[in-house]
Amino acid sequence: MPIDVAAIRTEFPTLAREVRGERLVYLDSAATSQTPEAVLAAMERYYRTSRSNVHRGVYLLAEEATDAYEGARTALARLVGADPRGVVFTKNATEACNLIAYGYVRRTLGPGDALLCTVMEHHANMVPFVHAANDRGFEVRYVPVTEDGHLDLAEAARLVADGRVRFAAFTHVSNTLGTINDVPGLAALVRDANPDAVVHVDGTQAVPHLPVDVAALGVDSYALTGHKMFGPTGIGALVADPALLERMEPMLTGGEMIRDVTLTGATWNDVPHRFEAGTPMIAEAAGLTAAVAFLEELGPDAVRAHEVELGATFLAALADADGITVHGPTTMAERGAAISFSVDGVHPHDVGAMLDARGVCVRVGHHCCKPLMRELGINATVRASLHVYNDADDLEPLLDGLAAARAMFAVGRSA
């Protein structure tokens, strides 16, 4: 079923809003997506009828709350082709990346070892590992980005050749360049050089947009976040091979995650509960289940097809517009629907303000990718990112705002 944008838009309350007298044009889904009614209803249902804490409750409400929470594990596992025992809920993707940094990397890698990262990573999938490296004395090696916005796999092969890379962390889809990386290819390369290496992928920008099957991708662990996939704020997940989780130490300790506690130590609960200390995000999990159902109903293939078509329209129009330079791959076959660009002679902040005046929401800045920005030789970009509720009608206000920004700021001024 192709995506029916008009019908879909009615499910997202905020999209009906007017901003500064203009129709709201939301082009910032790579930062966070809008939330459909079904997700809000699922959270309300929990708060209004089953409000209680999970696990251990012997009364009906507590059983319902537990079912709502554990149901999210099953739903998410189904969406990404994983074992529910491998789904650990976190507050966001950043915590998921930190969890594997603390639970595995810091406990395993030391002097003489190396970790493979890439220059295009979001800070969330880079800083936890660099921080660990500085504390633990292992080396971080970076796969560079080619001129056309891809990971340089030839260089990656060279970087892993000595067999010392024991852990690799890279993104499935770049939030800045849009690049869809060859996850199985890079994972295989890492494992060819060291069969025991653990491969961790940041799937934050992939799950909301592409069919994802972690088994088929051949990765050991996969981070994602609820608020970018139609779900609520405050919930994310590390989806990992349960066997890897068994080898990991918990990061957060406290209630729920223990088997026994004495004054001198504690033993841990089973996987995945071992990694979920304290009262979890219960309402958020209920909302995430509804978000997964929403994605499944649309169909990840249909979502991708819609974005490929719409993304091509946007890319073509931006290529035609005066003074616009798009960063990252130029064809939709190689990329997702987050489109970063520079406007000649105009600072991204001014572009953002001109667009805001037209009701157009875009992100400007470094997109939490400072090392990549430095690589591109710029400080910031403008990023327009698309989702299922966008269509070609959203293009005109964008182009209009860009032209106005050029007229206002780029004229009569040397760049």
Binding site: H347, G365, I378
Partner: protein, 158 residues
């Protein structure tokens, strides 16, 4: 689009398009600072000369949005030739204005007064302040006897 007019007053655009005292490749003054705002990537160098307690030289260069560059330009006009104590008073006036307070010395602030409207755009307040905070820091640097300073977030100095 009425909102935008408050942000991009004609005087602001004029300072942006025809910057005063902007000097690519600063050199040879008494104290230099580099300020940047990591959130939007703005970068600004400010170099000052102080003689007999008077700010008698100021130049800046940088990469920033129209608000930050125009604000630095208008600032340079407002402060040049004033006693340092007076300059610091103006810095404080401008800072408070960016936080919504009525400035008492409208005449002395000159063109910088038009940035009053920016206070309504919280994310742009830092842009308008960038030059002023760098200036304050340059004066501190001079007084400490250093000749250079590098600050990557003006927030903490505000």
């Amino acid at each position: 689009m009425g909102e935008l007019d408050a942000l991009y007053e004609e005087i602001i655009l004029d300072h942006y398009r025809s910057p005063r005292n902007r000097a690519p490749g600063l050199s040879g003054e008494d104290a230099q600072v580099h300020h940047s705002n990591p959130l939007c990537g703005d970068e600004l160098d400010v170099r000052i000369r102080i003689r007999d307690g008077v700010l008698d030289g100021l130049a800046y260069d940088g990469d920033g949005c129209s608000i930050s560059l125009a604000s630095a330009s208008a600032m340079s006009v407002a402060v040049l030739g004033r006693p340092v104590e007076d300059v610091l008073g103006l810095v404080e006036e401008f800072r408070l204005m960016m936080h919504g307070e009525q400035p008492g010395r409208a005449d002395d602030l000159g063109d910088s007064m038009v940035f009053e409207g920016v206070a309504r755009f919280p994310v742009r307040v830092k842009c308008a302040l960038l030059g002023w905070m760098a200036l304050r820091d340059a004066i501190d640097t001079f007084r400490r006897g250093d000749d250079a300073n590098d600050v990557t977030h003006e927030d903490q100095h505000e």
